[in-house]
């Protein structure tokens, strides 16, 4: 262990950086404690957990042997008595692990691996006091006697505040057949969650540790990574950070990859990768695709060109010098669609671009968005998955809409389909079954997590964008981004950012939607219209009784209209109404959404024939769009009948004349 304070007068540059990181971390932590949302943006991350590793891939045995050092800076104000290491690879060790024990196999990848994977730590040596800590570890995850992914390691002596603990580590990983974004298929290897990884040190001196749950992702501290990879000579390597060739024995090749201000490291090695490179702004972008995927590579590069500029303008500049996009071969598709610092994986068959669906664009922009919502804004993915997946799904949808308009998900057969429409439908199908803001493991299934965390959060923010204004929401998210950059944001920061730009009403709605399962459903009842001309009958007036026979009542020339609009649910969102009249004209009204009922009253020469709530689809959170309109006349569905008739006639033709 090294005491930074005792060496302060003679700090080497590297140590100076560590100390500066500690101060930055302390400044950040105190900001969190005091509930301040307007912390100045950080230029670099506090360097809390750093790794220097040398790893060798045995491509035939699918094993990675590695050794190196792990440094942990105690930035808290309390001495540390223990630490926690995540051994995520042990999730694939046997059917007793938390990850694999469900008989339903419903993890994020939806299936179990074909071959076991695990990690054997052979040594974890603390340089001070000079002792191997591994024999003293707890063999199993806390509270789970069958799981080995979350390991407590008692320290031989307390780690004082401001001190750095250096651990020498040696381990071997047996990779599983690709499952949950890691593993191998034939000679393709994607190596993620592969090293003993320190759980995130919390400001109160505890660790954010958890057994690897099939619905969960990760959480870690920022730091620096210096990893040398030794692979077969013919392999093409893609990895986190900036990589350069390194000396290697005959028949092998080595690359040394370094990355600062990141919190994970993943890599891939495959002899068949084809490479595209391009410098986009200040970023060296590398796209690795299987042979025959040139069109996908071009599409991914094009999406990155757009995304770096688009997200950079909205959420802050992409700060790293490199970005690697890995498109796994189709048989290893489960390693695709994932984010790591400065490295993302996509996926899909080579012919996807010809299908009309924007699948390649969507997966690329989604994973690129994670460079912000996960990479730079390093929220706890286990505790609040909506902060990365949910906000990022909104970022994905809004960016694709900005680029492709209404056809952001699909554009073919004359019917453009928007991502927001699909996401809204998925979110509405699960309604408000569970709160958005809860832990990944708390969702009753991954399908529920998918609908609520990804789709409902995205629909919630799209609703805010459309109801309160895109400019305001952009400003709020920019505030959140400035605060969250190189930090570990919590929901409170998002709510405060929304309050600051969209007001208390919006913040209240956001809080309710996130934590209280609040929902909204607008509906129309009783659209009526009647003539307002003088009624017939006997009337007592000041100058005597007057009888108006029915024959004298003129045909209606003036009409009164009436309709009731109701709001179910607790979210009070402003909404627009459109009144339709029998002379063809339409009129818009605004309702602030307060109260549970709005009465439509109108008068004029035309008859009110219908009322439509939210004609521009601003309130995407509306639970049921089918009750959003009512009219005096049932118009049937002639266009649907025509289209169904045509398709049926073609079907009767047997598809051929």
């Amino acid at each position: 262990m090294t005491s930074a304070s005792s060496r302060c007068p003679k700090l080497e540059p590297r140590r100076r950086r560590v100390w500066a990181s500690a101060l930055a971390a302390l400044a950040f932590v105190s900001g969190v404690h005091e509930g301040r949302a307007a912390e100045p943006p950080l230029e670099h991350a506090p360097r809390v957990a750093s790794y220097t590793l040398q790893a060798r891939l045995d491509a035939d045995q699918h094993r990675v042997s590695a050794h190196g050092t792990i440094e942990l800076l105690n930035y808290t104000e309390l001495p540390l008595q223990e630490l926690y290491l995540h051994l995520y690879m042990n999730a694939f060790k046997n059917d007793e692990s938390l990850f694999l024990r469900s008989p339903f196999g419903a993890g994020r990848s939806g299936q179990h691996g074909g071959k076991w994977g695990y990690i054997d730590v052979k040594r974890l040596y603390a340089r001070e006091p000079g002792r191997d800590l591994w024999p003293d570890r707890a063999a199993k995850s806390p509270g789970d006697p069958d799981d080995e992914t979350d390991v407590r390691v008692p320290l031989a002596q307390p780690l004082a505040p401001g001190q750095t603990l250096t651990l020498e580590v040696e381990f071997e990983v047996k990779l599983p057949e690709v499952v949950e974004r890691t593993g191998y298929v034939d000679d393709y290897h994607f190596v993620a969650q592969w090293f003993p990884k320190l759980a995130r040190l919390m400001p109160d001196g505890s660790f954010a540790h958890f057994a690897f749950h099939p619905q969960s992702e990760f959480a870690a501290d920022f730091g620096s990574y210096d990893v040398t990879l030794d692979v077969p000579a013919g392999d093409v390597v893609g990895a986190t950070g900036q990589c350069e060739p390194s000396p290697a024995p005959a028949g092998r090749r080595a690359v040394r990859c370094r990355a600062d201000d990141v919190h994970d490291f993943a890599w891939t090695s495959w002899p068949a990768f084809q490479e595209r490179r391009e410098r986009i702004g200040s970023v060296d972008v590398r796209v690795l695709v299987p042979p025959g995927h040139a069109k996908n590579a071009e599409l991914e590069l094009d999406t990155v060109r757009f995304g770096l500029a688009h997200f950079g303008a909205r959420f802050g500049r992409y700060p790293y010098p490199t970005l690697t996009v890995v498109h796994p071969p189709e048989a290893a598709g489960d390693s695709g669609g994932m984010e790591y610092p400065t490295l993302i994986t996509t996926g899909g068959p080579w012919y996807t671009p010809y299908s009309g669906a924007r699948a390649i664009e969507a997966v690329t922009i989604h994973e690129l968005g994670h460079q912000w919502f996960y990479g730079l804004f390093a929220s706890d993915e286990h505790r609040f998955p909506f902060l990365d997946e949910g906000l990022n799904s909104y970022a994905e949808h809004s960016s694709l809409s900005a680029r492709y308009g209404l056809g952001s998900a699909f554009d073919g057969f004359g019917l453009p389909i928007a991502n927001e429409a699909l996401s809204r439908a998925i979110a509405a199908a699960r309604g408000a079954d569970e709160p958005i803001a809860q832990g990944a493991a708390d969702f009753y299934s991954f399908r529920s997590l998918g609908a609520i965390v990804y789709s409902r959060t995205a629909s919630l923010l799209s609703t805010f964008e459309r109801v309160y204004g895109k400019q305001k929401l952009d400003l709020a998210l920019a505030d959140y981004a400035a605060h969250a950059r190189f930090r570990h944001p919590e929901p409170a920061q998002l709510i405060e950012a929304v309050r600051g730009r969209l007001g208390d009403g919006a913040a209240k709605n956001l809080e309710r939607a996130l934590f209280e399962r609040a929902s909204v459903d607008y509906l129309v009842r009783d659209v009526q219209s009647a003539a307002s001309d003088p009624h017939a009958g006997v009337f007592d007036e000041a100058n005597g009784r007057r009888t108006v026979p029915r024959s004298e009542v003129r045909p209606p020339a003036h009409w009164v209209g009436h309709a009731i609009v109701l709001r179910h649910g607790a979210l009070e969102l402003p909404v627009q109404l459109e009144l339709s009249f029998d002379d063809g004209h339409r009129e818009r009204r605004d309702w602030n959404g307060e109260g549970t009922r709005y009465t439509v009253n109108c008068e004029g020469p035309a008859r009110l024939v219908g009322v439509t709530i939210d004609p521009e689809h601003r309130v995407l959170l509306d639970d049921d769009l089918s009750n959003n309109a009512a009219s005096a006349i049932d118009q049937g569905a002639p266009r649907s009948l025509e289209r169904l008739l045509y398709w049926t006639e073609l079907l009767l033709s047997g598809g051929l004349p």
Partner: protein, 282 residues
Amino acid sequence: MSALGPGEIRARRRPFLLLSVVFLRLLVGFCLAWPLSSLVAGSGVGLRPEGDRALFEGGGYLLAELLRLRGGELEAVARGLLPLLVLGLLLTAAGNSALLVGLNLQGRLRLRELLSRATERLPALVVLGAGTALGQAVLLGTGLLLVAAVPEPLAKPVATSYAQAALWLFIVLAVGALGGLSDVAKASLVRHESRLGDALRRALKCLRHLPIRATFGWVPAAVAFLAVVAVAAKLTERCDVSQAGSWRLPVVFALHQGVVIAAVALRAAWFARTLRLVATDR
């Protein structure tokens, strides 16, 4: 009524018969489409001031909502319509039978005689059609197994796809060839008023003498049909029924019915060719 000479068999000789077959398809199609469209109308779409235009609007918000809320019911109704679909296919077969019979005959068609002759041939035609469908299903099943057996090396995805596509093309051509040959047998049934076995023998004989015409003679008609469908789809897209304008729906209806008319005419043209093929014993 006697049979036409081989040189006189032409689809254009029977415009009213063609239109009758089109009308039959329209009627059957309507019976199948109406319950589904009623469900769509009852989902709340019919009560929108703009009606079901909203289902066709860009973005697909209401279409997605309809499928979410009523998808299960639509599926259930569609399943319930399967017997009606089978009946519709039988009626279509009867229409095709009448078409073959009508194309083969000379002089003014008398409905009673046409129906009598067509009905007489219908059982054999249905057996032939069912046998053909079974054979085609076996071919497709075999195709599925063969395609699944294609090796998929990681580094050769395009070669794999091409191999699978080539296999599928081969299977589809085999399915089409079987269908073509079946149509030749049907024509033989009608032309020679023969029994099923005899018709099959004549079809096989035709296959030996004119293999391409007997198996793939339908290809020009199929290509023309696909072209008509594609053009109609483009024009329909331009009409955009999601927009206001009372002219749009009738125009789209006319376009689509034009496709159906073209489909029936092209089938009649192919039938005329098969009748000519089997008109003379080779």
